[in-house]
Amino acid sequence: MKKISCENLSKLYSEIASLQELYLPVKESGVTNYKKYENGAEVDIKTLKTVKSAKDFFFPQTEDMMEFKVNGKNIEINDARKVANPFVIFGVRACDLKSFDILDKVFLQEPVDTMYKAKREASTIITLACNNPEQTCFCKTFGIDASNPAGDISAIIVNGEMLFEAKTEKGAELLNKLTCLEDAGDTDADAERAEIVKKSENLPFANLNLDEFKGENLMKLFDRPEWAELSKACLGCGTCTFVCPTCQCFDIRDFITNEGVRRFRCWDSCMYSEFTKMAAENPRKTQLQRYRQRFMHKLVYFPQNNDGVYGCVGCGRCVQKCPQNLNIIKVIKKLGGKNND
C-alpha cells in the first residue's frame, strides 16, 4: 500500500496527468462532473454523485461512427471512430464501478461493441471509497460495498491521508511510477472500512426488498395497477436516463455536413415519446408504458437475461435529480415485496 497526505493531492493529480490523460470530478459553474485535469481545476472529491456518471468514459453521450463522402457517383466511407489513448479515471465510486460490469454485459457480448471496448481497455480506473455515504445512497440493496471498490487501483481516505492499493497489473504499473506517493507502512484502512459498512447499513434504503422482481412474476408486475400512480407526475424528460450510470440505450443518426454525411450514435431515452417509434407503429404511446419499461428493464428483464444481476447500482442520482421526485426507490417500495415500509 502507498499513501499521500490529502493536502498534497494536487501533486498526485499533476503527476498522473503528466503520464496519461487524467479525468476526475471537477466543480465548474456550481456542479461537479468528470473533467480532464488541468492545473488550477477545482477538484471535488467530496461530492459522491457527479451529475453525469462515469459511464461517459466508455459510452459518451455522442460519438462519431463513420463518415460518407459523396464524390460524383462514388461514395467514400471513412471510419470516424476515435482512437482511444490510454487514460486514467480517478475517484470512481463503488456504484459507478459496478455499473461498468453491467455495461460490459451489454457492450462486450457478441457482437462486441468496438467503440466501447477500445475505451474500456484504454482506461485505468482508480476507485475511491465513500467515507460518508448519503441518505440517497442504496448501493447496499444491490450488494455493493461502498467501503471497498476495486478497479485497477483502490483508494480510501483515512485520517487525512489517501491510501492506495493496486488491484490489477495495470494498476500496479501506474502506482509504481508515481513518485509523489510514499510507502504506507503499517497504516491500514480496516477500521475506516468497517465504519463505512456500518454507516451504509444504517441508511434508510440500504435493505430494500427486491423479492418480487423475478422473471416468473413478469406479467404480474407488468399488469400492476400501481404503475398509473407511480408514473402520474412523470414529465417524460430524459433526466433519469441521462444521469443513470447503467442506462445504455442509444440511437444512431445521420448528420448532413457540407461534405457528406456523418453517422453518429447518441444516448436515447426510453422516457422519450419517439423512443419506440417504428415504421408502422409506436407500441408505447403513453408515459405510463414508458415509465414502466424503464423500471421493468432494470429490475426484471435485465436480471432475467443476466444471471440475476439487476440493472441498478443504487447510486441515487435519479433520486436527487428527477424534477418531480419520482424514482426507483418509490417503485421498489411499492412493488418489490414485503417489509419495504
Binding site: 459553474s29 414529465l235 424528460c237 441521462f242 424534477p323 418531480q324
Partner: protein, 324 residues
C-alpha cells in the same frame, strides 16, 4: 404554516365528499421528507398521502392540460406563482377552465433541497415554517435558516400575489422579497459581450439535453415539440459541438417570450443547475422596457404585447438605439 396543510386537506376532503370535484391535484409525501411529487387523489383514503408544505415547489398548472379534459371537475391547489401559469394556459385555450375548481393557497416561498444539502441536510424529518425563517428537523437535529439562505431561486425574488380563485386558503400576508428579480439581469447586461459569452458558455455547455426544462415549462405546451418531430429535419438528440445547446435554449426562450410568467420551474428542475430562467427574465425585462410593464398570466384574457399590435408600440431602436 402547518395549519395550511390541515386546511387544504380538509378542503379537499369536503369537496370530494360533496361531489363538487371528482379528483384533487396536489402534492404527495415522499420517502425523504422533501421529495414531494405532484399527484392526483381520487378518494379520502388517497388523501392520506397529501401534503402541502415548504417543499411543495412543483408548479401543478401544466398537469391541468390533461386533467381538465377528463370527466368531472378537478380541484387544484395553486400557489401564487402557479396561478399565473394557470391563467396563461387558460388564455392559450389549453386548460378547460370550467372543469377546474381552483383553491389559491398561501405561500411564503418553497425550499431548495440543493441548498439544504449544501448545509449538510440530507433527509428531512420535519419543517417548522415561519414567514421569514424556517426550522428544518433532520436526524434529530434542528437547523434554523433565514429564508433567503434556503429558498428556491424562483421564490427568493417572488412578488406574485394570490389572484382570483374559487376559494383561497391564506392566514398571513405574503412575505416581501428582499431581492429584486431584475438585479441579476442588470448584472448580465452590465457585462461586456465577451464576459457574457463566457458566462453563458460555462452554463449552457453543461446541458445534457434531457429536456426537463422544456417538459416542465407551462409555456412549452405544444402538442408536439419541433425538436421531437423526426419529420422536421431538425429533431436532434446530439450536439454537433459542445456549445450547440445555446441555440436550443435561446430558441426556447424566444418561443416562450411574452408568455413566460417567470415561474422559475426551468431552473428548479435543471439537473446541471443552469440558471435558464435568466434568459426568460431578460426577455421580460426587455418587454417591460419596450411596451410598458407587463406580467404574463396576471389574468386569463389580456393579449400580451407580443401578440397584439398597437400603433403606440415602440420600435426597438427607440429604446436601444441603432437603425430602425
Amino acid at each position: 404554516m402547518q395549519k395550511l396543510n390541515e386546511l387544504a386537506l380538509e378542503k379537499a376532503k369536503t369537496l370530494l365528499a360533496n361531489g363538487t370535484v371528482a379528483r384533487v391535484l396536489g402534492w404527495k409525501k415522499g420517502e425523504l421528507g422533501y421529495d414531494l411529487e405532484p399527484a392526483v387523489f381520487y378518494s379520502e383514503s388517497d388523501l392520506e398521502g397529501f401534503i402541502y408544505n415548504a417543499f411543495s415547489g412543483a408548479n401543478l398548472s401544466k398537469y391541468l392540460i390533461e386533467e381538465s379534459k377528463k370527466e368531472g371537475k378537478v380541484l387544484v391547489f395553486l400557489k401564487p406563482c402557479d396561478s399565473y401559469s394557470f391563467n396563461q394556459l387558460v388564455k392559450e385555450h389549453r386548460i378547460v377552465k370550467e372543469n377546474v375548481y381552483t383553491v389559491g393557497i398561501e405561500c411564503q416561498g418553497k425550499l431548495d433541497v440543493k441548498k439544504l444539502k449544501e448545509k449538510g441536510i440530507e433527509i428531512v424529518d420535519g419543517v417548522i415554517e415561519n414567514v421569514d425563517d424556517v426550522t428544518v428537523i433532520s436526524l434529530g437535529k434542528e437547523y434554523n435558516f433565514v429564508k433567503e439562505e434556503v429558498l428556491l431561486g424562483k421564490c427568493s425574488v417572488c412578488e406574485k400575489h394570490l389572484l382570483s380563485y374559487d376559494e383561497v386558503i391564506s392566514l398571513h400576508d405574503k412575505r416581501t422579497p428582499k431581492l429584486d428579480r431584475f438585479e441579476i439581469v442588470k448584472k448580465l447586461e452590465a457585462m461586456t459581450a465577451d464576459e457574457r459569452y463566457a458566462f453563458w458558455k460555462g452554463e449552457l455547455s453543461k446541458c445534457i439535453r434531457c429536456n426537463a426544462c422544456r417538459n416542465v415549462c407551462p409555456a412549452c405546451n405544444c402538442l408536439k415539440c419541433v425538436f421531437d418531430n423526426d419529420a422536421s429535419g431538425i429533431a436532434s438528440k446530439a450536439n454537433s459541438d459542445s456549445f450547440e445547446e445555446k441555440l436550443f435554449h435561446i430558441i426556447r426562450a424566444f418561443h416562450v417570450a411574452g408568455r413566460c410568467t417567470d415561474c422559475g420551474e426551468c431552473s428548479r428542475v435543471c439537473p446541471q443547475a443552469i440558471p435558464l430562467h435568466l434568459l426568460n427574465r431578460k426577455f421580460i425585462s426587455d418587454i417591460n422596457r419596450l411596451y410598458g410593464e407587463f406580467q404574463a398570466g396576471e389574468d386569463d384574457v389580456t393579449k400580451g404585447p407580443l401578440t397584439a399590435y398597437t400603433t403606440g408600440d415602440a420600435e426597438p431602436s427607440e429604446v436601444f438605439g441603432g437603425n430602425k
